[in-house]
Amino acid sequence: MNTRQSAGTAEATRTTYREALREGLREALRQDDRVFLMGEDVGRYGGCFGVSLGLLEEFGPDRIRDTPLSESAFVGAGIGAALGGMRPVVEIMTVNFSLLALDQIMNNAATLLHMSGGQLNVPIVIRMTTGAGRQLAAQHSHSLEGWYAHIPGIRVLTPATLDDARHMLAAALADPDPVLLFEHGSLYNAEGVLDGTIDAVGLDSASVRRPGTDVSVITYGGSLPKALAAAETLAEDGISAEVVDLRSLRPLDDATVLESVARTHRAVIVDEGWRSGSISAEVMARITEQSFYELDAPLRRVCSQEVPMPYARQLEEAALPQPASIVAAARKAVA
């Protein structure tokens, strides 16, 4: 991960993932007049998940814009604004509703640069909540970031740490092409200490969040805390797990993944998406394509059960990757 250290005396501050995102938005709005935020309930309500709370008061209704309930319309408007020279940040309440804007994202945002022969780039940032775990049942619990990672022409980011929540937006806005930012719903309340010495992050590389020697646990987004918890449990058994945070699902940083596998010779991919045709399958394929002769055990993965997400808490927990299932898969890999 390319980070830029600040020269001044920065101090570590205690914050949450939600506040870190808000701070990133606030900074972007302050630094560039072309930046504005729009989406459902982002203004007066402060955002469905409270990310933009207080920004309307601070920046006014021109720059914090509530939109009608039409994802296709306001994502399309965002693309138009981007084509017109603005730097829109469009918030889609959740990934589930993004399906209504899929045509705008896939057929307009992702393609215009190519179809215009390089004349029209679309500098839009689309933020959305993803993931399950909050008893929101089958229509509000998807993890479709892996789907979006299938589409050439866009960048797909999955901030999982406070530092990434704080700084990825700036890097995304600096990108001249469309960027999708997936914020896992279970992370908003995650509390921690923001590293005050970092004032920028890169988007191109994955990051080793915990070094280890026996097995690589490769994951992203909302599954990162689970993978780290699993690594802790495994360490008690003397199994040293290396946890890799992909950070970006498109482009995928093969190098960091392959270097990790070259160290550990075993890998478990953790992905909240459904197993078939998932981003975990893509990661596995790339490992076998490029590092087959490093492998000392079959690759394993922990994904969501291939069912519409249940509402009942116990069933939902059973359907999702959990630290225990990650531990079990890692144990099998090193057995």
């Binding site: 010779h265 087959f292 002769y293 490093e294 492998l295 000392d296 055990a297 099998k332 057995a335």
Partner: protein, 430 residues
Amino acid sequence: MPSLGADMDEGTLVEWLVTRGAEVARGDVIAVVETAKSTIEVECFESGTVTEFLIEPGTTVAVGTPLAVIAPAGPTPAPGPPVPLPVPAEAVPAEAVPATPLVRHQAAVEGVSLQAVHGTGRGGRIRRADVAEAARSGPARVIASPLARRLAESLGVDLSTVRGTGSRGAVKADDVRAAAGTGGGKPARRGAVGEPAGPRPAATQTPAARPAGDRLAIARLMSRAKREIPHYYLSTTVDLAAALEWMHRRNSTLPVTERLVPAALLLKAVARAAREVPELNGHWREDRFVPAAGVRLGTAVSLRGGGLVAPALADVDRMPLADVMAAMKDLVLRARRGRLRASETADPTLTVTNLGDQGVESVLGVIYPPQVAMVGLGRVTDRPVAVDGMLAVHPTVTATLSADHRASDGATGARFLTALDRLLQHPEDL
């Protein structure tokens, strides 16, 4: 199917020398088995009545596969038939394989076992394409991780000899490292650990495929020796004037059939020297030297059709010279006829290779694992030697010792060659 040598994985039953219902005693020759190297008479290791033949002649089975059931003799009903390790036998008589003669011929040429070929023709018939496919994909597949395969290649480890500890018995990188490291001495197959070799598919070898099998068995064993054994070499030239003079004097009083040849004296002297220096007489097993109780002298015999075997002569050190001579003649004759006994192929404790009759001056041999030494004897020939300050021409022989530096040091080897020299100066005491 008994193991008739450290390098034997399977054998073909050639014929039964007893009939069903026959009373057999321990030590009786009951069957003839063909290995990759030669044809061997199998001695029965139980006494009783042969009640059932489990394997038809012409069938190749893995070592450890039961061949027959022998009901114990005597009134006491034993709990079960005394049979070797229950290895799943995939033995199928050759006739049971659905293949045309043309396909059989092709399989023989390609060295492919038809039993192991999956037939894709009508009714599971094996077609020529199936044999070609099997020939391309090679012999029994070893399940190993990609990393283990890469390591095995770079460390020079034969994966088929590594015991896998992964799921489904897969060989993992650590297994290869263990086999290549100091633990490389353990032959990870069967034997020492008492573990049956994995169910290897039985293979029927046709005569046409034989030479390849021969060569392969030697190749495997010798590669293993050079890979695992740090050899050191010593040599000394022994003055045989006294020994040969004594021998000629003795021979002149005997009928031709009972006369000695120098090789008999040398063999006896080697056996005696081995008794004196027990550090060279035994086996290297599981990272340590295990001395042998007696001297079983392996005598390398080259075969007319190429290749070699090293059957063992037991207790040569305690045998009168006349008996050594007789045993030696008998052994070479039977080895070349391909009729060795199982007891003669069981692990020798020290091997002698004598290339004197091939005209070479000395031979530095490769040790047969798990033995720890090999004695080489060159041609007995007249050479100028210094005797009491004068130049004389005496019959001499160059004796060499290849020894395993893990098991012994040069000083030990030197003691052996010195003892051999001393013994040959007093032939009357041999």
